[in-house]
Symmetry: C2
Subunit: 193 residues, 2 copies
């Protein structure tokens, strides 16, 4: 997605080889028209996959996922991050380790919002090591649904997340793929849409 | 907003006089077309207020706020909930007590995303005691901006939040106002839009 790559080059800040700040248009502040275009592009790329539901992870995934669900005209389901295990009927959880926060959390789904037979487009803001996407896919499949594709706004293509997910048979649709970065430069690999 | 009241009556669950579950269309699962209508209605109600920015609080406020920012064509800024104080340049915080979670958190704003002179439409999913809205307004004003209005999806009109905010001079725009509820019934007061 050319508009997104241009925006990353203009307003993203690579602090080092690993940390990319995009808080001015994706995380803390969200550029609404850009997010609408993100939603349209992901929806277009997934249009033949029979998607019945968009699933995302709170909270930075919500804005792009909302616009995607909007365009596809399907419900959006938000997976919550709980600090601890919840013992409650109808709730399923899996532990995810966040390298960004250096802490584990319990990714949490209310099962009645993902139904057997659903074809889910999982949308998240970042793909790095694939921990969150792997956990989310596990919950979706535990609920009896299948992952039609994993839509990512920004992929760190120099990290192993994509390989991990594609080895498991998931289709990954990344709108921007950062191949390498460092103070003052960001290089892209070819994106999926 | 009639469509919203109808949806609350159909799919909302009043567990008792205080707890209203709307997780099937607002919190855990988000109804995309309904949220688009929420955004249009809030944007229409605020159209003469000179709004330059929409601000919300993670994570249940993001979906309705995104659609409002989209319609108004202004940026969306997300206030984060931190467990602890962050000592960092350009970050301001205020403590908010959540009666829902029975715990306090640090509501956090990166100051560079709310500018002096900004006229902010603050959007949140619920208004009850007004703790979150009061904290958010405080941060917005500390950043040198003003609160043009506070847009609420569902107000618990039997709680003191609205009175607290209007006494301080804030304009509250609630799309649905629950006057009373209990197991099996929900009654509305007249909404603002």
């Amino acid at each position: 997605m050319k508009l997104l790559e241009e925006r990353i080059l203009r307003d993203g800040r690579a602090l080092n080889a690993d940390v990319l700040l995009v808080d001015s248009f994706l995380n803390n502040q969200v550029d609404a028209p850009l997010m609408a275009e993100v939603g349209r592009t992901l929806a277009e790329a997934a249009k033949d996959l029979g998607v019945t539901r968009v699933v995302t992870i709170e909270s930075s995934g919500i804005a792009p996922a909302m616009m995607t669900a909007m365009t596809l005209n399907v419900p959006l389901v938000i997976l919550k991050k709980s600090a601890s295990r919840i013992l409650q009927d109808g709730v399923i959880q899996t532990e995810v380790f966040s390298f960004t926060k250096n802490a584990a959390y319990q990714l949490t789904l209310k099962k009645r919002f993902v139904l057997p037979g659903d074809r889910v487009l999982l949308v998240d803001d970042f793909l790095a090591r694939g921990e969150a996407a792997t956990g989310a896919s596990k919950l979706i499949e535990q609920a009896g649904a299948s992952v039609a594709a994993i839509g990512i706004v920004i992929e760190k293509a120099f990290q192993p997340g994509r390989a991990l997910l594609t080895e498991k048979g998931y289709k990954v649709i990344s709108l921007a793929r950062v191949a390498a970065m460092g103070e003052g430069y960001i290089e892209f690999a070819e994106a999926d849409a």
